[in-house]
């Protein structure tokens, strides 16, 4: 009885939170709703700001497929982004683990040096990187696409920072139990840090999926084109068909949303796990 009362009181106190979150959620979602309705409308209506569903979806779909190889671009984007994510997570978490849990002055210095890499505008390194990839024969390959994006100071920093919450005493205990450093990484660090991995995976995948400038330079063959490039092609020219474009944009957004939905569970579990 008292517990029930208590609970309803807590909920009452949360009313401002609910209102605030509802407003924020609405603002966040509304433009996406608009995007979805646009995919079902004629271009002229989209340009005039129609915000309800129309009946032009099938026409837009047919036109999209007639103009572009949607399946090919989806597959390319998916493969590139997945490979980049897996490699980036592995290499950067290893480094974050090393930097924080074997922390000393020299490593701090090295970290500071690596951090500098984050600060140069991508535009500046594009030409030298293009030359390099062209010499290595990596143009139009997954390697050319992802190599510059695997080891990022940002991900290393994220793992390093979040490693501060890693219980160091358990590591000592594990060493006494005879686990090697590599085993500690795989058997202890990895499971404990899963929420960080999930967040890192979402972010890396999204960055790789949405990457545009670099792929545009390095993927010169249409067969290697990614989803953002496909959208850019749809948006090209003197007359843009907004219905078709928004349908393309929708397809481009779905995978990143799914990835987030899937890995969101990891977050929730991670949070729940931390309490117990």
């Amino acid at each position: 009885m008292t517990e029930y009362k208590n609970r309803s009181m807590i909920q009452r106190r949360l009313i401002p939170s609910y209102i605030f979150l509802t407003i924020v959620s609405f603002i966040s979602v509304f433009p996406l709703y608009w995007m979805i309705t646009a995919a079902t409308n004629k271009s002229v209506d989209v340009a005039r700001g129609k915000i309800v569903f129309g009946s032009y979806l099938m026409e837009n779909w047919a036109r999209l497929n007639q103009l572009q190889d949607l399946g090919g671009a989806m597959k390319n984007s998916f493969v590139y982004a997945l490979v980049q994510t897996i490699l980036a997570l592995f290499i950067c978490s290893l480094a974050g683990f090393g930097f924080e849990l074997y922390h000393d002055k020299k490593k701090d210095f090295l970290f500071g040096v690596l951090l500098m890499a984050m600060m140069v505008p991508g535009v500046a390194t594009m030409i030298p990187l293009f030359k390099m990839m062209s010499k290595l024969g990596f143009l139009n390959t997954v390697w050319g696409f992802m190599l510059p994006g695997i080891s990022t100071p940002f991900l290393i920093m994220m793992f390093r920072q979040n490693s501060r919450n890693f219980p160091i005493d358990i590591m000592e205990a594990a060493r006494i139990d005879g686990l090697s450093e590599v085993q500690i990484f795989f058997q202890m660090y990895l499971p404990v840090m899963k929420a960080t991995y999930a967040a890192a995976a979402v972010i890396t995948f999204m960055n790789a999926w949405n990457a545009y400038l670099w792929p545009r330079v390095i993927m010169t063959d249409k067969k290697a084109q990614t989803m953002p490039m496909l959208i850019a092609n749809l948006a090209a020219g003197y007359t843009v068909d907004y219905g078709v474009l928004m349908l393309g944009v929708l397809f481009c957004s779905i995978p990143t949303m799914i990835i987030f939905f899937v890995l969101q569970k990891q977050f929730t579990e991670g949070i729940t796990g931390a309490v117990k």
């Binding site: 909920q11 433009p31 140069v120 390194t125 030298p128 080891s151 090697s180 999204m206 944009v249 949070i271």
Partner: protein, 296 residues
């Protein structure tokens, strides 16, 4: 304390773990940076670059370039206005969503995060349509009798900057919130329970517990945001094309125009401007780390 218990062998492993990442950064970032640095002292078309005379030509040119200076001013305006608003909003949202008593947390969290799952191309298009002269925002404002005629949001310098800032907040708040949530998760929930028993209200908990404990994450997101804003590109290109009359152009946009955007490639000059940005970000990041990192 840590170092005492680490043996030589463990020490060696500690370094080994760093090798792949360090090597890749050296090849993929530092080597090209050095190349770009050399380029910043050259002039001419990309197929036939020559050393500039005087050697600092591109650098001296930069400071007499009114458009570049305007782009620097614009970028700092975005930085100063947008980053604090966005980060505070993100921490606040993370804090609210970390409350276990809150229902529909999953739904709220998903909604707030969704914007950053949309491709950059699309979100610019969306904002452009919403704020168009005959767009939805204008219709709403008139329906509510706040304004009496259509406002050309993207066609006037002040409001165009405002739209860019709103768009940035919309797109990136959820992104930063993810980090805070991941960081909050490292804080024992019992700390909050204890605070609640002590009678601390929401704001007290926020300022006295959340913010200090999230400090490492806050520093990280701050550096990220500074870096992201100083390299701001897509929004300037896609939302306003830098206009009206270059009043919203950013540094990266201007650099891009000089390297790829306007047909006449000037890599030497673009590289020189890139280095200026690099130095700016480095200075800001170092200040940030010094202020924030109290561990040593």
């Amino acid at each position: 304390m840590k170092s005492k218990s680490v043996t030589a062998k463990q020490e060696r492993w500690g370094w080994l773990f760093l090798i792949p990442a360090t090597l890749l950064i050296c090849i993929m970032s530092f080597y090209p940076i050095i190349q770009a640095f050399l380029t910043s002292f050259k002039t001419g078309s990309s197929a036939n670059m020559k050393w500039a005379s005087p050697i600092i030509y591109n650098y001296s040119r930069m400071f007499s370039d009114k458009l570049f200076i305007r782009s620097v001013v614009n970028t700092f305006f975005y930085l100063i206005v947008q980053v604090p608003i966005m980060l505070i909003l993100a921490i606040l949202l993370a804090q609210l969503l970390n409350n276990r008593d809150l229902k529909f947390r999953g739904i709220f969290r998903t909604c707030v995060f969704l914007p950053c799952a949309t491709a950059l191309v699309s979100y610019s298009l969306i904002f452009k349509s919403l704020f168009a002269t005959q767009g939805l925002i204008n219709s709403i404002l008139q329906a509510l009798h706040i304004t009496s005629q259509n406002i050309n949001f993207l066609g006037t310098a002040g409001t165009a900057k405002m739209v860019i800032i709103l768009a940035l907040i919309w797109r990136w708040t959820g992104y930063n919130m993810v980090f805070y949530l991941a960081g909050l998760q490292g804080i024992e929930y019992s700390v909050y329970e204890a605070a609640k028993i002590d009678g601390a209200n929401g704001w007290k908990t926020f300022w006295n517990i959340t913010v200090p404990l999230l400090r490492p994450t806050i520093i990280m997101t701050f550096i990220m945001s500074i870096n992201g804003t100083l390299q701001l590109f897509d929004e300037s290109v896609n939302l306003t094309s830098g206009g009206p009359a270059n009043s919203t152009i950013t540094m990266s946009h201007y650099i891009y125009n000089n390297s790829f955007g306007q047909g006449v490639a000037n890599f030497g000059y673009a590289s020189a401007m890139s280095f200026f940005v690099f130095i700016l970000v480095a200075i800001l990041a170092i200040i940030n780390l010094k202020v924030g990192d109290t561990r040593d």
